[in-house]
């Protein structure tokens, strides 16, 4: 019954969006984490989503079976460098490094992720309702 697959698909979507929300939270929390070298500085992280495809051997037409997180990539935008010689974390030249997290971008990202999460929940609820009605046929 295909309606049961909707549960798996919506579940995979919710899980992927949760990963995204977690990364947003991690980025926001570390937005002001200061370090004294570029190697140690936190970089903004983003998930990369990929469609889960049906088994191509058994089915002729490949339709997606949900979504999964293929990996997490770090942003390549330059770090924020500040001249603060009095800062305890300042390096020999008096510079501190701050993460390349764009807080406004992260906020927008968070809203998009929570909206997508809600969409998946709604979809799951609708499928559940349809199945309940199907179970009640003839009663």
């Amino acid at each position: 019954m295909s309606l049961y697959n909707v549960f798996d698909i919506a579940g995979s979507g919710m899980s992927a969006q949760t990963t995204r929300l977690n990364l947003v939270a991690s980025n926001m929390a570390n937005a002001e984490t200061v370090s004294s070298s570029t190697n140690e500085t936190y970089r903004a992280r983003q998930p990369v989503f990929g469609a889960v495809l049906q088994d191509e051997m058994s089915k002729q037409d490949v339709s997606s079976k949900g979504v999964r997180v293929l990996g997490v990539v770090e942003s390549q935008t330059p770090l924020r460098t500040e001249y603060a010689p009095q800062h305890p974390m300042a390096n020999a030249d008096g510079y501190i490094f701050k993460p390349n997290v764009n807080v406004v971008e992260e906020m927008a990202n968070m809203m998009s992720a929570s909206q997508s999460y809600k969409n998946n929940v709604e979809m799951l609820n609708t499928a559940k309702q349809l199945l309940q009605e199907t179970l009640k046929i003839g009663q």
Partner: protein, 130 residues
Amino acid sequence: MATTIDSLFGVHEQALIYRSKRAEVLASNMANADTPGYKARDFDFKSVLNKLNTPAGQVKQTHYQHIAFDKTPATVALAYRTPMSASLDGNTVDTQVEQASYAQNALDYQTSVRFLNGKISSYLSALRGE
């Protein structure tokens, strides 16, 4: 009334199968709303049902040793949705369009369920002689 159990419920039995199949396809579109390069899929419900019910599309067993024809093929011809507007990452899922289609599909599913319930209750009242 010459009916077999199969034809008691008319088209609604098959309709439910393909409505749930479509719900699955639309659900995977929604789940992949943020997947780069994902192309939204859908199928034409009307043409699928028409193909099943037109005489040309029906396969008959003319010999008792013929293998029974499976009336419900596992796959339907999935097509790609034409996007309303292009997106930078190559994703063609329009969440609003998918949501609306999903809602409509769910409503149509409920309609079929309602029709089935109606048929069952009318058969029951016929059997009871009410």
